[in-house]
């Protein structure tokens, strides 16, 4: 119990349990099987995109682009399947790969050309959506493929398929961060890029690859988004980058880099989606919902800042102590 209390998972998990308890108590319908599987569908896209955001944040970067990247990618996906006749499995792989290419572009600008990630991905937030509007005269593409919805609404063993994607991708991300040299290097680069370079790590390559992963995660998100409504639209994914970053930060990832873990990001994503779901079930107007989500982001980032501050104070005190 003591070990659990000390573990970095404790605080976000407690927050999540609190949110679940409050929602379940105030809204009995919350625990209906139908609602729970609906919840799994809702959380899947945000949570998968948040994997990418977490990788970038861990290296000390930030990615504001995935919402717009998803709009662009759903359009490319929908157009290529419906109008160009690309087979569905091929189109899916191509969309994920193209996501990786978009990430590579941002990685090139941020890691190798050293333009701050905040700027490059803010530019991409604007530009990617602009490109999305260039397809199909800016109109959404509906009824992309008859089999497409199965990807999102299908079930296996009575559980929604997106739950399986989610678990598989989180397991993979967890493994990469914990058991691969690349994952360890991500933490090292985020913790102290200068020391990482002097320790022989290829800092820029690692930052670059984090963006590629974020782009590919957005690609997976785009396929699910397209499957959900059997369509592609330049208006998809608005604000998704904020939910994804918020998921990471609520989960305790530090925007300064080097601190955070992927399971906590999943907890963060669940927290956001459950709050949204609870508000929906209580017929809270969308306008109020967006304010609540905004407040949650501020509180989460505030907690990140305070935690840094506390950590900084602690470090100063210990530095002070060491000189004696």
């Amino acid at each position: 119990m003591n070990a659990l209390a000390k573990s970095p998972i404790a605080a976000p998990l407690l927050a999540l349990l609190l949110v679940i308890a409050v929602t379940a108590f105030s809204t009995p319908r919350f625990l209906d099987t139908g609602n729970l599987s609906n919840l799994a569908l809702q959380v899947s896209i945000v949570a998968i995109v948040a994997i990418g955001s977490t990788f970038v944040i861990l290296t000390g970067g930030i990615d504001l682009s995935p919402g717009s990247a998803i709009a662009l990618l759903t359009m490319v996906f929908a157009v290529s399947v419906k109008f160009a006749g690309v087979p569905l499995p091929v189109a899916i792989l191509l969309t994920i790969a193209l996501g990786g290419v978009l990430g590579a572009l941002l990685g090139l600008l941020s890691a190798y050309l050293r333009i701050p990630a905040f700027i490059t991905t803010l530019a991409a937030l604007s530009a990617f959506r602009g490109v999305a509007f260039m397809f199909n005269n800016g109109s959404p593409v509906f009824s992309v493929h008859p089999a497409l919805e199965t990807i999102f609404y299908g079930t296996a063993a009575g559980l929604p398929l997106p739950l399986f994607y989610l678990v598989a991708l989180y397991a993979l991300a967890w493994y990469v961060l914990k058991y691969t040299a690349f994952g360890r290097s991500i933490y090292a680069v985020g913790g102290n890029p200068g020391a990482a370079a002097l320790s022989g790590l290829s800092v820029r390559r690692i930052q670059f690859l984090a963006f590629v992963i974020a782009g590919a995660a957005a690609g997976v998100g785009a396929v699910l988004m397209a499957a959900r409504l059997n369509s592609g639209s330049p208006n998809y994914g608005v604000g998704l980058e904020l939910s994804a970053i918020a998921a990471a930060v609520i989960g305790g990832a530090s925007l300064a880099g080097g601190r955070g873990n992927i399971i906590n990001t999943l907890i963060g994503a669940l927290t956001i989606v459950i709050v949204q779901n609870g508000l929906n079930l209580n017929a809270v107007p969308t306008s109020v919902q967006t304010v609540v989500i905004g407040a949650i982001i501020v509180i989460a980032v505030g907690i990140d800042m305070w935690r840094n501050e506390l950590g900084g104070t602690l470090q100063r005190l210990t530095r002070f102590g060491r000189t004696s």
């Binding site: 040299a181 290097s185 090292a188 200068g194 002097l198 290829s202 004696s324």
Partner: protein, 503 residues
């Protein structure tokens, strides 16, 4: 020379000060008397309780017993603000200056003259000039602090401290980042303040400069005063003796030089201050690099390590010509750099000791897609034991470890990476005597294992005692290279002085 017993009233006094933290008596009836116009050295290894003592004087801690007296009158210092009002000022190793503001603004930070709506710029500048004049230093009050040298920033820090009319100035490791001539300048300024009657408490790990400066010494150990000013002669031997009790081992050195060349530089030149540097280092040898701050010593090791690209010349490692495009290549070739600033450039504060040790050679933990964390633990634990790093380092974040343990972890990293050429840039800076000796022993073990060591140190005694040969670096090239025994301390001091003549 000890301090003669005095009967007059000290400016500041800690009387039987006691402070208890859960599980440890940090200060056990500590007595400290600081007289006007006296520089009082407060010494002891990390964890001896001197920080706790000065924190009590600064109002950071409230003592559990005993009293603080100013001019013989008992005083309660509730918090740091109260301490400043009472006349206590402190200068720390970490600067509290704002780099983008001017010297004058920094000196008056927090109490800018003038009204709420209009700052009295002229008055502020004049007053800053007055303080700087009092220190007898030539720094322009309008200069931007970030553009000053580290040494000048340190002086501004002192100006800021004394601008409050302090009667006691506490200096905690003020020389860590300074070169020798800059230390001399700092000493001159402090002696000037002393003549004006300021009482000073001086903390430093560099005993050579401490004995040059202070009037008397109090040595602490395990929360107690183990040697009073009246009992401690101001000499390195006496102080080290009181601190650790093994004077003869102050600089343990066991030579292991071979004839096999491990590292050779031929006319190495970079765009960053290295200007035709040539030397060889043999396996088992420690080559010391002497010279002033800014002579290009640090830049030479940066060039060897692939940080600054070579614009001319050649580097050979183990007889093979190498051209490192980045530290990545250098690490792969078995070259290691322990950087001067271990906090900024060496340590990962988001990692525990274990991950800090393994980071340079994760290959050793198995395939890069399936690292064995068990192997990491086993190998890391082995090094932690061998280097006598605290066992807590395995799990604890490095920020929570002592400076000595941190430095050993950075060295352990390169042992883990199986490096053969070690470039050590000021490896004992800011760590206590016990940890320094551990680092010297470690250097002995490196050379005994046939590794080559390039040692940069601004501590002349250390450089002479630990090096087998010493190369004097001036303006980015080696101007003199001889066996360490062939150098007198005065040669090194002169090497430092000559730059000023040239400049």
């Amino acid at each position: 020379m000890t301090r003669a017993p005095r009967t007059d009233t000290p400016a500041w006094e800690a009387s039987d000060l006691t402070k208890v933290f859960p599980g440890v008596v940090a200060n056990d009836a500590v007595n400290l008397k600081v007289y006007p116009g006296e520089i009082h050295g407060l010494l002891g290894e990390n964890g001896c309780g001197k920080s706790t003592l000065i924190k009590a004087l600064m109002g950071v801690h409230q003592p559990d017993g005993g009293a603080i007296l100013r001019d013989g009158v008992e005083l309660r210092i509730a918090d740091p603000t109260a301490a400043r009002k009472a006349g206590v000022a402190a200068v720390f190793q970490e600067f509290s200056l704002i780099p983008t503001l001017s010297v004058a603004e920094n000196v008056h930070l927090g109490r800018l003259p003038g009204s709420t709506l209009k700052i009295d710029w002229a008055g502020m500048k004049a007053r800053a000039r007055e303080v700087l004049t009092r220190l007898n230093v030539e720094i322009d009050p309008e200069a931007v602090v970030g553009e000053l040298s580290v040494a000048d920033q340190q002086l501004v820090e002192i100006a800021k401290a004394i601008a409050t009319d302090a009667t006691m100035l506490i200096l905690d490791e003020p020389t860590t980042a300074l070169g020798l001539d800059e230390i001399a300048e700092l000493h001159r300024v402090l002696k000037g303040l002393k003549a004006q009657g300021t009482a000073m408490v001086y903390i430093s790990h560099r005993l050579d400069e401490v004995v040059d400066l202070v009037d008397c010494v109090t040595v602490m150990k395990d929360g107690r005063v183990v040697s009073t000013p009246e009992a401690t002669p101001v000499s390195i031997e006496a102080i080290v003796g009181a601190m650790i009790g093994e004077v003869s081992e102050h600089y343990p050195k066991s030579p292991s030089v071979t004839q096999e060349v491990a590292l050779e530089l031929r006319d190495v030149t970079t765009a960053n201050r290295v200007n035709g540097a040539s030397f060889t280092v043999h396996r088992g040898e420690v080559l010391g690099l002497g010279g002033v701050l800014g002579s290009g010593r640090t830049e030479i090791v940066r060039a060897i390590f692939g940080v600054d690209p070579l614009t001319g010349g050649e580097v050979f490692v183990g007889g093979e010509p190498v051209r490192f495009r980045s530290p990545h290549d250098a690490v792969a070739a078995g070259v290691a750099l322990v950087p001067e600033n271990r906090k900024a450039d060496g340590l990962f504060f988001n990692f525990a000791g274990l991950q800090n040790i393994s980071v340079s050679k994760l290959d050793r933990l198995g395939p890069s897609a399936a690292m064995s964390l068990g192997r990491e633990r086993a190998l890391g634990r082995d090094l932690i034991g061998k280097l006598e790093i605290t066992p807590a380092a395995e799990e604890r974040l490095v920020g929570l470890l002592s400076g000595g343990n941190q430095q050993k972890i950075v060295i352990a990293r390169w042992l883990f990476a199986e490096a053969r050429v070690f470039l050590l840039d000021e490896p004992t800076q800011g760590i206590d005597v016990g940890a320094k000796i551990a680092v010297y022993r470690l250097i002995n073990e490196l050379t005994a294992a046939g590794h080559a060591v390039v040692l940069i140190s601004s501590d002349h005694d250390e450089l002479m005692a630990i090096s087998d040969r010493i190369a004097i670096v001036r303006q980015g090239r080696v101007t003199d290279i001889r066996a360490a025994e062939a150098f007198e301390k005065s040669d090194l001091v002169r090497a430092s002085a000559e730059r000023e003549k040239a400049a």
